[in-house]
Every structure is written in C-alpha cells, then in structure tokens.
Symmetry: C2
Subunit: 130 residues, 2 copies
C-alpha cells in the first residue's frame, strides 16, 4: 500500500511515517519503479505497536531496539533476550508505580467524593467513572 493508505489506516501523519522510517522504526519499506513507498500489510500492525509503546513512555530509540530485537531471527538471540529482559523489568517497574499511583488516586477520589457529598454537591459524572 502507498503512504496515503497507511496514514489513513493508522491515523499517523505521513510526515511522521517517513520520520519513523528514517529513525529505523519501519523496515523493509520497498519502493516501486516510480520511487513511491510500497508498504506491506503488516506495516499497519507495526505502526500500531510503535504508537502503543510511545504512549507507554518509550522513546523512539528504545522502540527501535525493542522492535528490531523482536523481529530478529538473526544471530544475536542472546543479546535480544537480554534486551527483552531489560525492557520487561522497566515495564514491571512502571506497572508497580502505576499501581501505587492508582491507590493514591483511589483514596483521594473517595475523600473528595465524601467531601462533595458533605457539602451537598451533585456527583453526576463523578461517581466511579467506568
């Protein structure tokens, strides 16, 4: 597929897609005789994965290392496994911290709700969203 379709299907700006490619996040982007990019179907998933990792706070460089290790059926399996373990540790740390924050938010929410009720205020949209 051409860049316009990938842009449409991923919601990622075409300039950003070219930037990701330049940064090594998208590999195997072949070109037609007209020099236009021709993305494979799986590019959609790859871009989605990049977006997700980005939202989780990984930098472009980290994402590149991670994704490249993931698709490496190459020699450096031990190195790849090491990288995985490293990222996993980082992910686990984030999960732990987020749990702590959630706990804090939860108790604060309850406290504020109680306060609001005490002041006789409506809680229309307030009570336990989702």
């Amino acid at each position: 597929m051409r860049i316009a379709e990938l842009e449409k299907r991923t919601g990622v700006n075409r300039h950003t897609l070219r930037y990701y490619e330049k940064e090594g996040l998208l590999l195997e982007v072949h070109r037609g005789g007209n020099n236009y990019r021709d993305y494979p179907e799986k590019a959609v998933d790859r871009v989605a994965m990049v977006c997700q990792l980005k939202d989780l706070g990984f930098s472009i460089r980290e994402i590149r290392d991670l994704l490249n290790a993931l698709r490496s059926d190459r020699i450096d399996c031990a190195e790849g496994a090491y990288l995985m373990a490293e990222k996993k540790a980082a992910v686990e740390k984030k999960i732990r911290e987020l749990r702590q924050i959630r706990k804090l938010l939860d108790s604060e929410q309850k406290r504020l709700e109680a306060s609001a009720v005490a002041h006789g205020l409506s809680l229309k949209r307030t009570a336990t969203t989702r």
Copy 2:
C-alpha cells in the same frame, strides 16, 4: 531549606525546580528577606511525586492539575474527585497495556533464549534479570 539543598535531596536541577514552580507544580514557596526561596520539608516529597508522575508519562500540565486537586481542601471537591477518576482510568489503561507488552516481551525473551541455547551461546547475564 534553600534551593541547593532541595536540589541535592531530590536530584532535580535547580533550574528545573524554578521551572516547576513557574509552571505551578510547587506551591507555597516562601521567600526570606533576602528574596531567597525557602522550601518547606514536604517540598522534597512533592518533587519526588512530580518526578514519578513524569516518568509515568504525565505532562507538566496534567501533573499540576492532579497535584493541585490532591491538596485542595477547597470548595471544588466534586471536580477534584472527577479529575481523580479520570486519571485513575488513564492509569488503569496504562497498566493493562503494559501487562500486554510484558506478556509479549516474556514470550519473546523465552523464544530468543531457546534460540541462543540452540546455537550453543552463553546466557551469562541473560536469564531472567531481577
């Protein structure tokens, strides 16, 4: 305490501390007669909290809103509770996504380790870090 001590105890650059203050992340920073900042003891915790939230991907603006709601024993309890619920939902979404990523990383790590062993490579630092 003065800025040098807060810098030392939090590990956050003094320019950054002033920047955080300007952005409304640090409140009640009083001044002595010499116009020097005089931070209260709890500023250390407050800065630590800012750092943690930052690492979790919250923007300066989001952190300001969140922390100000947390310390508000003011009128807008209902609004504060709503804010808490909102952030909590975002935090929970992140946790879910990170769990998924961890799962992926875990299976990839195992695959790569198996590959490495199959190739007769050493796994010195590799096997399940932490």
